[in-house]
Symmetry: C2
Subunit: 158 residues, 2 copies
DNA sequence: ACACCTTCGTTCGAATTTGAACAACAGGAG
DNA sequence: CTCCTGTTGTTCAAATTCGAACGAAGGTGT
């Protein structure tokens, strides 16, 4: 069993990594949120919905599948898809093989909005994160956080 | 000037790093949130407020200073400090040198709550992030994201 | 066919977050 | 001192988020 006495606190390096991760994450989200809202009237979450739909085979995904990709709650997704539906960027279609199923589907206007929003967003991601790091740092980040994500996905749905 | 035609999209490696960052961030927050709420009745934000106050000289910090450390809005902090005040974990004191100023101050009960919540939280951070990565990966993460954070802090308040 | 357990998406209420507007004050230039 | 500009923390309305509960189906074993 593990030690029941003193927990293993984070040393200086570990703490630096953890704080860096949290702070960078918060600052980045804040910045991207502002830029997207001002530039395209979209929240970061809404933008990501459009991206995932755009990347999907028929521009459409099942609600649950989309919620997984976005790492959000089902109810949260229902809300956001409704918002995007009102904006005319996304539509809902029922699934042929499963009456309960619902497809979120990118509309032409949704595609156009994404096409217009993407350059500015990507440019900022580049400026704030990608271009700040070296190729090696990026590789380590991708591999490390990829592994972290993979493990988190596993015991989240046992 | 920069190219006005095609934006520089993210290549495969860059995209992997960016997606890894976003996904890991979301999954981690989700997990930590759940654990803290179940284990100690605190949100991650509230926990972090206690941590920062605990680390401060007199267990107290100015509201604005605290908001900066937390990377949150002033109004958001006002709300959360009020919540913590109702729980008896934090108190407010006015600043001697500045009538407008307000100190958020950790109470004894707040210290005790933090002491009780910390081990479980740190253990989970360790399990989900720190211990998943090698020493080298942690170093790269700390340095890279530290730099990213530093730059973000700069042109955020020009 | 039947009961049983899981999955799907939505609805609901409560909690949280944000930006803008605000009032009160600080700090300096003149 | 007086005006001007920037800060400080709060309030407010609106938007978002989450988890729990729900109704409706799917899928399985008997």
């Amino acid at each position: 069993m593990s030690s029941l006495n003193e927990p293993r606190w984070l040393d200086q390096d570990e703490m630096a990594a953890w704080r860096g991760f949290v702070v960078a994450s918060n600052l980045l989200n804040r910045r991207l949120e502002r830029q997207l809202k001002e530039d395209s009237g979209l929240s970061h979450q809404q933008y990501e919905i459009l991206v995932h739909l755009s990347a999907a085979p028929a521009g459409s995904l099942r609600m649950t599948e989309l919620a997984d990709k976005l790492v959000t709650s089902k109810s949260g997704l229902t809300y956001q898809v409704t918002q995007l539906e009102r904006m005319g960027l996304v539509g809902r279609r029922s699934c042929p093989s499963d009456v309960r199923g619902v497809f979120a589907e990118l509309t032409d206007q949704g595609r156009e909005t994404l096409r217009q929003a993407a350059p500015g967003h990507v440019a900022l991601v580049r400026e704030l994160l990608i271009d700040v790091l070296t190729r090696e740092q990026l590789a380590v980040l991708a591999e490390g956080l990829g592994e972290v994500s993979a493990r988190l996905r596993l015991d989240d749905t046992p």
